[in-house]
């Protein structure tokens, strides 16, 4: 109980810090705190594998990526150069809309019962973390992932591959010339052919 509320306070605080910081480096650090707290939160929900994944993928991979990009784009700490603010008054409507949505959701959540665990299903408790073959254990998760949900798993692999290709294309140095219409002069393609031939 206490653990939950402690984690919740950390989560909310770090989230707010993330979005209000001027400098992205501070944001990243704050986000790191947030992610770790969230991983702990997963453990309280018996989702041990997800918790581990959270740490490995988010903090280990994604955040590192952010840090790299920040390092790449700016020489160091401090705000990025920015142009004129074209939507100076967006904060008010954004807050209103967001709060409205939040209010509606909260209203709905308070009015609708969330439901309870079906009688015939037994689930593990916090104390079960680390045990094999109970709800949320790695074995339980793995069995489901590689049997029932094999196809989505493989599709995910495919999506990742597409993303990799996309990043490679985007990250390559070749500037993509702006093209207007589909017309490509023949000469160019011939030149290309000759280049290809020469390369052979």
């Amino acid at each position: 109980m206490i653990l939950f509320f402690a984690l919740a306070i950390v989560l909310v605080a770090s989230a707010i810090v993330t979005i209000v910081q001027k400098s992205p480096v501070y944001s990243v650090v704050s986000l790191l705190v947030n992610f770790i707290a969230l991983a702990a939160m997963y453990f309280t929900l018996n989702a041990e594998f997800i918790g581990v994944i959270q740490i490995v993928v988010y903090t280990g991979a994604i955040l590192v990526l952010f840090v790299f990009v920040i390092a790449l784009l700016s020489s160091g700490i401090g705000p990025f150069s920015e142009g004129p603010d074209r939507l100076p008054k967006i904060l008010v409507p954004a807050l209103v809309a967001t709060l409205a949505a939040f209010g509606f959701l909260t209203y709905g959540l308070t009015r609708v019962p969330l439901g309870t665990l079906p009688a015939h299903v037994t689930t593990s408790t916090v104390g079960d973390v680390g045990k094999a073959n109970v709800f949320g254990s790695v074995g339980d998760f793995g069995a489901a992932l590689f049997t029932t949900h094999l196809l989505p798993f493989e599709v995910t692999a495919f999506i990742l591959m597409v993303a990799v290709i996309g990043v490679v294309v985007l990250g390559s140095d070749a500037t993509i010339a702006p093209t207007h219409g589909t017309h490509v002069p023949k000469k160019k393609s011939r030149e290309r052919e000759s280049i290809v031939k020469a390369a052979k």
Partner: protein, 101 residues
Amino acid sequence: MPVDIANYISLSTVIFFIGVIGVVTRRNPLIVLMSIELMFNAANLAIVAFSKLWGNNAGHIFVFLVVTVAAAEAAIGLAIVVQVFRRAKHVDLDEVAGLRG
């Protein structure tokens, strides 16, 4: 002592809307991307909480998939940011207005 699932859901909601505000108000694309990650995480938390509530581990699978997609999204998003920076020498979403009709 088990915590009521409703608390988890409320927490998830709060974090989600914090992310929303970040997306809408910030002009720095990196922070926008981070806000999006926040929203992903909030959603994941809700899913895991419901998974626990119903005793159904399909939610875990779903979160796993979301994490992968989020990773892909972050990678591509950051690549785009890098490209944009190369061209515009600014990191400002308001400068990337090519969609203007």
